[in-house]
Amino acid sequence: MRILFFFFGLIQTVVFAQPPPKLELLKSKNQWVDSNLDKDGWKYFQDQYTNESSLNEGDEESTFIPSLLQSGKDLFSSLTGFSFSIRRFRMKGLSNRYFSQSIHEISMNQLSDGNIPWVNWGGLNEVTSNNQYAAGLKDNEFQFGALGNAVFMQLNASKLFPQTTVSLNLSNRNYHQRFAFTKVWSENKNGWSFASSFAFKQGIGGVIKANEFKGASYFLSIDKRLRNQLFSLVLLGNRQVNTRAAAITQEVVQLANSKQYQPVWGYQSSKIRNASWQFNHHPMLILSHEFNLHEKIKQVSTLLLSSGEKYTTALDWYNAIDPRPDYYRYLPSFYSDSLLKQNVLSQIQLNPSQLQIDWDQLYWINQNSTSDKRARYLLEDRVEQSKKIVLNTRYRIQLTNQLLISFQGQYRKEAYTYFKRINDLLGAAYSMNWNHFAEDNLPNSTAIQNDLNHPNQIVGQGDTFGYSYKMLLSQWLIMSQALYTMPKFDFNAAIEYTSTLYQREGNYRNGVFPQNSYGLSEPNYFNNGQIKVGVIYKLNGRNYFYFRTAFSSKPPLVNDLYISPRISSLKQLDISNERAYMAEAGYILNAPKLKITLNGYWINIYNAMDVMSFYHDGYRNLVNYALSDIGSKMVGLEFSMAVSLNGRVTFNSAISAGKFVYHGRPNYIVMADNEPYISEKGFLYIDQFPVTGLPQLALYNGFTYRSNSNLFLNLSSSYMGNQWLSFNPIRRTYDAAQNLPIHLDVDQITRPNNLPNAFILDFSAGYSCRIKKFRDGSAYYLQFFLGVNNLMNQSIITGGYEQLRFDLPGGDVNKFPNKYYYSLGTLYSLSVKCKL
């Protein structure tokens, strides 16, 4: 089947590569609309939803970074970004840290986890679309770039399109209404420009019953031009609270008879209450200064200040039964006795509310289990507060007409504070700052004290408990880049050097690790470099060939360095820099009626590290799996094509076919949070395992109809296959194989699980018209966009993971079955935009 689709794509390529009819693509203009309206409008519209899937799912899955379509300048990603995001497609199979996004030349990627915090500027779609895009190793003017891709966002008021718009979005997604007001003033005669935008989003209920979403975002940008200088101030932020979804097993899908079942909510006095929330608010202040020192020398300096908080909310409990209604011991499959299995099944069928959280019961227990009302259950916030300061300076020197060189220097300091905070005591009077997991192992010792400096601390609502530590991260960066242009060839080269410092500072003296939890840890220094070179052969103005190669060395992410930074400063035993080698070659055809990009790449990554933490009820504790020396290899092909069939219909096609595998055998160690020793170690037998969490084969085909630029219709299909579930490393160890009961084949526990292939249809339409014209020439325009995603109303699996717990003695992979995320079926969004 897969091969069929592949050939289908190839045949289409050949068929449609014929010389197209004599009409110009995307060029027709109409006096009733402004030129880029439909194209950009549609793009804003899509952008809102592309990141969405990542924003409301649980933290078991690493944060998903969508491939980028913000620029619209790269054909492949503008075609596929929206459609492929349902399956968390990542270009080239690379991890998040190989994609970069910058605002005013400052990379937003966090030193802590390598991720781009999209949500920090979420909802400001009307002003965040002034982007430049560099795919793969393509040279860019600003920075070294990234192996995956790099996006450079400009938010200066003077560089935004002057506009006054009011937008209203209606959708059945996780937010239902969005309202935005944007005003960009054009530069006045004194050199001042202003831009502002405000947006509000909200949603309650919907496809997922317990969904709740509230968000407000704001943006202010002021520019002052002073002869050859431009001073800018940008203030932006997005305050957002929304519920999160959890992955679920097939068994509960059947029990609840719904793929939209969610275990993270329940009724409290007959009102829906959700236990799983996330909050985010990170206001950013960016001051920048562009200075044309000389006609050939430009200096750009930027200072970024940011401070904010995000947290996720979850239930915590102590010495009480697990409040999660989908806990495996509550489900029929847990029982081997057929009578009991039947009893449990009929009990759940007769009482569907048993599949939701019983808040009233939690309150009752908190108020009645002890006379002093000590909390058995509570709602906790897992808080990450961060403060960032980044100073960046770049010189752009046009030495000759052929040679452009640039230098960049950057210093960044990021301080993160992680702690738990009591959100709600759920009717209890107090809680103790104790580590109950340690109670079992080392009874009656000081091990249960989360903070020996403040033993037996009584905590209440709003108090910090559990853990509290800081991560102090800083990095120096210098970069130099050269671009040499010749008539037939362009050469580029860049080199970057970074020096990184990681240090943990514990605010608590943990009872299990009294010697190495409080205060500053030993710092780790990493010196790294990246280098890339590329050449483009310009056959003519339409045909380009290129070859680029790079070597990159990056420090391990600090979250992968410390085994369990929550409670100790113990680090992985085998600390190494992550190295990547990459080469890519491609062809670009840029003809008026036919656009083709074809890119082949080869990437090899060595010595990556990872740490996974999860609750293990065998250990009755949080357990950490620390992996090191992870190698991966990505080889693949990206193809995209847009062909204009006649003036009104465009056919688009895109293919990403890759082979993304791990190579070699990483080391692993297992350490539980309440025991100061390593309980297991060894090698993972995952050589040639597929890289998980994204489709390795993805195809896109679509037709766009466009009439006179005030109407467009787009119907597209996407096919995504060769996707595997995130795997549990412990099933691929020597121990697991040795412990396997004799009658079981080791292949049953080690074989990667693949996801069913997905085929979806999307439809979108846009229409714009003028509603009023004024005497001064200005006019009111109204634009409508409709997007219908997943026309066939399928509830496809969008991702998932093998549970990290494993029935080691029984070897039964179904004891802790795989968990999946399901898409919501057909989703529509309607946007009405009024341009004043």
Partner: protein, 448 residues
């Protein structure tokens, strides 16, 4: 004109935004539980009455009981178990969950809808459970109630008063007290079990400690290695202890909920007082060995057969039989240490016997004023004491111990010896052999 529209829009949008972003509302606490209409329709005692020994019974008739929780897993001494007591009796309920003490705290009144649940025995104790595992027909066992069915069967009603523990003496400990909250007074740990850990927290094993009544009688304190107080040491004094009474086999056991159940604030019992002159239950001696307790005499007059310590169902006894000796005459003596009767009045002797494969061998209880204690009792003058001795277990082991009755010794004075004398034979045709196996236990002499 255009500016007015824009300004208006701006204000309207700001207003709308403030409405939309209004804080996530805080949740109230739910109203207090107002009770239930359910009423009990049977008592715990009637469960015991309807139970057939050795059977598993399923509840089919919407039986409902109610009671107050007297023990739970709060300190992990009770594992996946709570104990419910009403005014008639008490019973243990096996439940498949950790942290049961949160849902079922001590003193909570609980209603149990029994329909669909099972009852059966575990070590002789009646328990309520969720099912029966018959996968191994030779060893069927109860399955705890699944957590998913808690809400189906268990309704917590309200805080109630924990019933006062029943004060009982050693002799009052009987089957009707199973799972009851009892208090044992004038009791202490056996001297070898003082200052020991309550449980084995290192190996997570359950530990038994002997509790000795000052007036005689042993009860075993069972403590799980998982108990939060496992690594606390047992006290030395005497006093009272409260706990859940149970029996395993014929061993009388107690489980405490917390160390506050142990109130041993007085000095150790004084044994030379008037109450107990002598007591022996053989529990401290190694099974399958001849009895060699220093002041005792274990003498084979004929047939070379000695009394042995034997263990049966966790209970140790003195055992004697002619079986396997092939001797024509087997005569064996087990003589207690000399007892001075001049310092007390109203002395009474009691003991337990149990017979097995009875075919007519004899066990006599004798007393002597002139035995010299030098190992030749047949040279002394002995008087027979009138005691009830077990008999009649022809085909196997008697199911119960036979109480001797209280044998009055007040007619005797001075230093006396008391002896068990076994007479049997193990030759000739089977029908003529007399090789009954007798067990002797809990030999006690009391005074007023």
């Amino acid at each position: 004109m255009k500016w007015i529209v824009i300004t208006k829009t701006f204000f309207v949008s700001s207003l709308l935004g403030i409405l939309l972003i209004a804080c996530i509302k805080k949740f109230d606490a739910p109203p207090l539980y107002t009770g239930t209409n359910l009423k009990a329709n049977t008592s715990i005692k009637s469960l015991y009455d309807s139970h057939l020994a050795g059977n598993y019974e399923k509840f089919m008739d919407n039986e409902i009981i109610t009671g107050v929780v007297t023990a739970n897993d709060a300190n992990d001494n009770f594992y996946k178990t709570i104990v419910l007591q009403d005014s008639t009796a008490a019973i243990s309920i096996r439940m498949d969950g950790f942290g049961l003490s949160a849902n079922y705290p001590l003193g909570i009144r609980l209603i149990i809808k029994l329909n669909g649940m099972w009852m059966g025995e575990y070590g002789g104790m009646l328990q309520l459970a969720g099912g029966v595992d018959r996968s191994d027909p030779l060893f069927t066992e109860l399955i705890p109630v699944p957590a998913a069915l808690f809400s189906k069967h268990f309704v917590a009603v309200s805080k109630d008063i924990i019933p006062m523990p029943l004060d009982v003496t050693y002799n009052q400990l009987n089957d009707s007290l199973h799972s009851r909250l009892v208090r044992l007074n004038n009791i202490e740990f056996d001297i070898k079990d003082t200052a020991k850990f309550f449980g084995d927290a290192i190996n997570k094993l359950t530990t038994s400690h002997s509790l000795k009544f000052c007036g005689g009688g042993t009860v075993y304190l069972r403590t799980s290695g998982f108990a939060s107080f496992a690594s606390i040491r047992t006290p030395k004094g005497s006093g009272s202890i409260t706990g859940i009474y149970s029996e395993f086999g014929s061993q009388r056991q107690l489980m405490i909920r917390d160390t506050s159940d142990v109130q041993f604030n007085q000095n150790r019992c004084v044994f030379n007082g008037p109450s107990v002159l002598f007591f022996e239950d053989f529990e401290q001696y190694t099974p399958n060995q001849s009895i060699a307790i220093p002041p005792w005499s274990n003498i084979a007059e004929s047939g070379k057969q000695f009394y042995q310590v034997q263990s049966f169902q966790n209970n140790r006894v003195a055992s004697i039989t002619a079986l396997g000796t092939n001797e024509t005459t087997v005569v064996s003596w087990l003589i207690l240490p000399a007892i001075q009767l001049n310092n007390s009045t109203g002395e009474q002797l009691s003991f337990l016997t149990r017979d097995a494969f009875d075919n007519g061998a004899g066990l006599q209880i004798l007393i002597s004023n002139n035995y010299d204690g030098k190992g030749q009792p047949w040279n002394a003058r002995w008087f027979s004491l009138n005691a009830t001795i077990a008999k009649g277990a022809i085909g196997g082991i008697s199911s119960v111990f036979t109480k001797s009755g209280n044998i009055n010794l007040s007619n005797y004075a001075g230093l006396v010896h008391i002896a068990f004398k076994y007479t049997g034979s193990d030759t000739g045709p089977l029908a003529s052999r007399k090789n009954t196996n007798y067990w002797v236990d809990d030999v006690k002499i009391t005074a007023q």
